[in-house]
């Protein structure tokens, strides 16, 4: 159960190399791959570190390449991030465990549905944001984006706090 996250991690760190095959990007990618491999073997914080480094590598590649926004690729990268986290976590759980009949099939189906839905949702959201961005030009656009990002994070944190441990017997 470690092959699927390994393939996803490899795809994740090699995608930025297609945008800008610079040595700095390769170095960052190698470091990210190493951390991801450690994470897949069971050290979950290492996987998170590897994914953050992979995002950094992606940002660097975009910066070096320049040009217009590549939203399709970004959505694919995001779906890859989701699936990498979930498959690695499932692999950790399934390691040294008896797997019942139909578990893997159901899990793969669930990941496929999740990938499709989150991908479609992200595409729709980014398309809507592009339309809004094209129709009205806000002053201080970067500051607004930063504030929106902060608000989004706080909203997620609050939502999780509300959904946190419930106990019923």
């Amino acid at each position: 159960m470690r092959r699927l996250p390994a393939v996803l991690a490899l795809a994740l760190v090699s995608a930025p190399l297609l945008i800008a095959p610079a040595s700095s990007v390769v170095a960052l990618g190698a470091a990210a791959l190493l951390l991801c491999a450690l994470g897949i073997l069971g050290v979950m914080p290492a996987l998170v570190g590897g994914m953050v480094l992979a995002l950094g590598e992606y940002a660097l590649a975009l910066r070096l390449a320049g040009g217009g926004p590549r939203l399709g690729g970004a959505v694919l990268l995001g779906v890859g991030l989701v699936l990498l986290l979930e498959t690695a976590e499932f692999g950790r759980r399934a390691h040294h465990a008896a797997i019942g009949p139909g578990v893997l099939l159901a899990q793969i189906r669930s990941w496929a549905v999740c990938g499709a839905l989150t991908g479609a949702g992200s595409l729709a959201a980014s398309a809507a944001a592009s339309t809004v961005g094209a129709s009205m030009r806000l002053p201080w656009a970067a500051a607004v984006a930063a504030a929106a990002a902060a608000v989004a994070l706080v909203a997620v944190a609050l939502a999780l706090r509300v959904a946190r441990p419930s106990s019923d017997v």
Binding site: Y58, L62, A74, G78, L85, E86, L153
Partner: protein, 424 residues
């Protein structure tokens, strides 16, 4: 069932936050878009099932086994409502070792569906094993939240000590009055010819020794040795032990006691057990299959128990320690209290044999080899020899047994020397 968010949520939020920060810093919208699937994935939180949705039963292939035997555990999970992903974990006590399958399982169940999960364990050490709890986690498909429950499924297994192979046994010097397998010095009904004497009225014709009668021209009859049984009392030292489980001196002592009890009971002898752990615990001498089980149950309980109480051998009733009995004391000779009890027994005229499993090789196995460890072991061996010599001077027979060697080899020399002593 307690439902909680898993560490995966923290991982998702961390990656998402870093993605947003990098997006703002680099001024590229792609990073914000890449983070969107992660944040959208969090919307799936909700819906780990309660423990009422499924039931658990356990079946074990045997309830009573011997050390070293294997047992198959079958757990059946049945669902009344769909369970997306159920993780079950059954922690094993240290006396059980997993040899086949896994004691953790992941299952996906639909309505009315049941799944069987099997694993095999080896019972490494004697004792009463209780596996009482199965830990269950009902995961959501995404793994973002899990409900946890502990399900009591009581299971008891008795692991009896493995009886070591034994064919020749130390013979007792004194017999009892019941029929058994030993040739007694006294004459009477039996199979082994003893003496020849002149015929007297009342003698049976079938006992007439025709060869002697023809030679001396008068009737002679052959007398036979009686065949009698014996009382054997096994005295087990549970004051202290050395070595690492499942190979401590006590483990080997108990295996030897089990082997001796089995062998003597097979010969129709009466066997008793005295466990000396400061105070005495005992099983009265008797014979038969039920008594065999009684002794094994007592051996199952036997363990080292610290106690300040030291009872005298004189407190043991005669019916537990009959004066004619052969007493086989099994002790690593680590505690002077047991040595004092042995000296008491010898002074009272008991037919006493001390079987001493040596703790030195067992302790040597658990420590790293070094020059100082070797020296310590040699000094220890010298000290043991000196103590054994002191006991021999008190009239005891001491058998030093290296547990790596077969028990029969250790008892072999003793069997021969006792046979000579009985003949004398």
């Amino acid at each position: 069932m307690t439902t909680r968010l898993t560490p995966l949520v923290l991982s998702v939020v961390t990656v998402g936050a870093w993605g947003l920060v990098l997006g703002v810093l680099s001024g590229r919208a792609e990073l914000i878009v890449a983070v969107l699937p992660l944040l959208l994935g969090l919307l799936r939180i909700g819906g780990a099932r309660s423990p009422g949705d499924w039931t658990l039963t356990r079946a074990v292939s045997a309830a009573r086994v011997f050390e070293g035997e294997r047992v198959t555990v079958t757990v059946t999970v049945s669902a009344t409502r769909p369970v997306p992903l159920l993780e079950l974990f059954e922690p094993l006590p240290p006396t059980l070792r997993l040899v086949g399958g896994h004691n953790r399982g992941l299952f996906s169940l639909t309505r009315g569906h049941s799944v069987e999960w099997r694993y095999e364990v080896e019972c490494t050490r004697r004792g009463r094993v209780t596996l009482g709890t199965v830990h269950a986690r009902a995961w959501g498909r995404a793994g973002l939240e899990a409900g946890e429950a502990t399900i009591p499924v009581p299971w008891h297994l008795r692991v009896y000590p493995r009886a070591l192979p034994l064919r020749r046994l130390p013979g007792p010097r004194r017999m009892q009055t019941f029929v058994g397998n030993y040739v007694a010095p006294s004459l009477g009904e039996g199979l082994e010819p003893g003496d020849i004497r002149a015929f007297v009225p009342g003698d049976r014709v079938r006992h007439v020794n025709w060869r002697a009668s023809l030679r001396f021209r008068r009737l002679f009859v052959t007398q036979y040795h009686q065949e009698r049984n014996a009382d054997v009392v096994l005295m087990l030292d549970t004051l202290s032990e050395a070595g690492a489980p499942p190979d401590t001196t006590l483990d080997f002592s108990i295996r030897a006691a089990a082997a001796l009890a089995t062998a003597y009971l097979t010969r129709k002898d009466r066997v008793g057990l005295i466990e000396y752990c400061g105070p005495f615990r005992w099983v009265r001498p008797s014979s038969g299959r039920a008594h065999h089980e009684r002794i094994f149950e007592a051996l199952l309980r036997a363990d080292v128990m610290f106690s300040y109480v030291t009872q005298e051998v004189a407190l043991v009733p005669r019916r537990i320690l009959p004066p004619q009995a052969l007493v086989i004391a099994i002790s690593p000779l680590l505690d002077p209290r047991f040595e004092k009890a042995l000296v008491d027994l010898a002074a009272r005229g008991f037919d006493l044999v001390v079987l001493s499993p040596s703790p030195i090789p067992l302790v040597k196995r658990t420590i790293r080899g070094s020059a100082s460890a070797d020296l310590a072991c040699r000094l220890w061996a010298l000290e043991r020899r000196a103590r054994a010599d002191a006991l021999r001077r008190a009239g005891m027979t001491i058998v030093d047994w290296d547990p790596a060697e077969p028990l029969e080899a250790a008892l072999g020399g003793l069997t021969r020397s006792r046979r000579r002593a009985v003949a004398r």
